[in-house]
Symmetry: C2
Subunit: 357 residues, 2 copies
């Protein structure tokens, strides 16, 4: 049945209403709203004025239905306020707003049944034009995740072995983070470096683990057993208690700053001095890292550049389906040396009878 001849007074104005006021066709209004060429300046102004006067607001649902594109991109994040993921998400929001796309967010929680694939699915379901997966973690079953997607996908952080038609990745810093840390410690004179890793399911944790391992191997150093935490300061603390008992430990690389902080606390409580007895380095450079006692040596990832670069390439892939993808940019890693690292204690005989300096 016809809705009604004279629409309810409070109904939102439509483009035809604007057209009527401006004295043009509805299609012309559409042209103006989309910034299409071939509209004379005079008409454009009239339309804009009419729209303004009526308080016209384009209906995105109608546009999406008619055009088949939603002009929105979806992001899959972990449901945590962890520094890395949270910073990345904010970066994506910032990047997206400049492009005119809207942002839809869905998160996977660790141990989530449907996982990333489910999240991607729900995004596809909502009809996004592109997808960003931030800090992926490994799914339950298959190691090789194949995304059944026809929209471009950007993977931020350590890229898992995704199989998807149009994937773009960013943040090829991969093992360079771990390498920078490990080499710093080795250069300081430590015989070897211990590693407090992140949860094995996180690709970011694996990258660091492998980078550390490779660096040690290249330098012909013994690889001590790995300890695994869960990114939290409390897991770092637990690890620290174990490590403190072993006085061959002189250098530890924690996979993130939170764990490094917990670790240092445990070391200190056990009477091991940092950095005199043991050097500790974290990763992230969280805002408080510089204000620890001692100030934490750490590595910083170029989150902003990473997101910006990745996003630019994602949008390119969305808008130029057939063009070649833009190559990824090479991003710098920044080692921030502060006071939690130092040369190893001097060893005369079996043990270290030595004070600072």
């Amino acid at each position: 049945m016809a809705r009604l001849a004279g629409r309810s007074p409070r109904a939102a104005p439509r483009s035809v209403d604007v057209a009527r006021v401006a004295g043009v066709s509805q299609k012309t209004v559409s042209r103006v709203m989309n910034g299409e060429p071939y509209v004379s300046e005079g008409v454009r102004r009239r339309v804009l004025d009419a729209a303004e006067e009526l308080g016209y607001r384009l209906n995105h649902a109608a546009r999406a239905l008619a055009s088949g594109r939603t002009r929105s991109i979806g992001v899959v994040t972990l449901g945590t306020a962890l520094y890395g993921p949270a910073t990345l998400l904010m970066g994506v929001e910032r990047a997206v707003r400049d492009t005119g796309y809207a942002l839809r967010v869905v998160n996977t929680m660790e141990g989530d049944a449907s996982g990333i694939a489910g999240a991607v699915d729900s995004l596809l379901d909502q009809g996004v034009d592109g997808i960003v997966i931030s800090e992926p973690i490994e799914e339950e079953g298959d190691a090789d995740l194949s995304l059944r997607t026809d929209v471009p996908v950007l993977v931020l952080g350590a890229p898992p072995p995704f199989t998807a038609p149009r994937v773009v990745t960013a943040g090829i810093v991969a093992d360079r983070l771990a390498r920078a840390v490990t080499e710093h410690l080795l250069e300081l004179g430590h015989t070897t470096v211990h590693h407090l890793a992140g949860p094995a399911r996180w690709y970011a944790a694996r990258d660091r683990l492998e980078g550390w391992r490779a660096t040690l191997a290249e330098h012909g150093r013994r690889e001590p057993p790995v300890i695994t935490g869960d990114w939290s300061a409390s897991s770092g603390y637990a690890a620290g208690r174990r490590l403190a008992a072993d006085d061959t430990v002189t250098a530890v690389f924690a996979a993130n700053d939170d764990m490094a902080i917990g670790l240092i606390r445990a070391l200190l409580e056990a009477g091991r001095r940092v950095p005199e007895d043991v050097s500790v380095v974290g990763l992230d450079d969280i805002p408080v890292a510089a204000y620890m006692s001692p100030p934490l040596t750490t590595v910083r990832q170029p989150f902003d550049a990473m997101v910006q670069d990745g996003f630019k390439r994602l949008v390119h892939a969305i808008e130029n389906p057939d063009a070649d993808p833009i190559p990824a940019q090479d991003l710098p890693v920044e080692l921030v040396v502060r006071a939690s690292t130092a040369p190893p204690p001097h060893r005369t005989t079996p043990e270290h009878p030595r004070v600072s300096l």
Copy 2:
């Protein structure tokens, strides 16, 4: 012009396609997809099977256009990875997924021209059914922000003087956070408490400032000059350098943990012991707070409960436009006493000759 008789093979299946396969009308498919009653079990199964077989996926844009509702809610956040805002956002994501709504995010950055109103506008523009404003800050011009919105709005964190048709707020912890801290310090025997506030534009900062001020007044204590930071550890450090120079300072309440951490570092560097010479308490209980040296005394906000409660009420307001709003729940504040607070140093002459107990 007609698109084409036999749709392109790769086109997504529509509900009519499902209907054809299931041997029912298109409307029945719609009923099944929406879980409407009055569909026999047999038909429902046939439809579901057909949908599954075809890989049918409901078109949300079409649904939104036809129904006038998008089943999505928008969130306005600050573009920061600060603990409070980030945690709140994650909470909202978690809450939203259980309700079947989709989430759209837009962020305001501090000093943003359009500010919250602009963000709300862009959300309205995208057609959301409800809006969440997390941790609002004051806009450029007007103090009294009136949102021209017809959808319900949930304000998380300190509610500003919003004027909007259908606002719901959550997190009435308001001055209780500051009160808990200030009273804790006073009970320890400190004559007064200094305050390192957050940026004045943040309503959350004001709440804390006022709570601290009120508590001091109630106890008849002198109110020391306020120092203002920007939530960062480095601003806390700067404040700490100033405070360290004044040895009448025995207790400081920092408006968040990051600033408290910077503050403590500055105090320590200046040779003032924490907590023996000066007690410091933060606010948030960030994950590393317990692993500082000394472990930080702080207050924790019930973020999860706050979001859950608020969100439940928002959805209620969306789905029952005419019903009375659900009253806000009273939320607890949790003071976490660790080692950064202690009774004030013993003073022999002018001041309080007293030790603990």
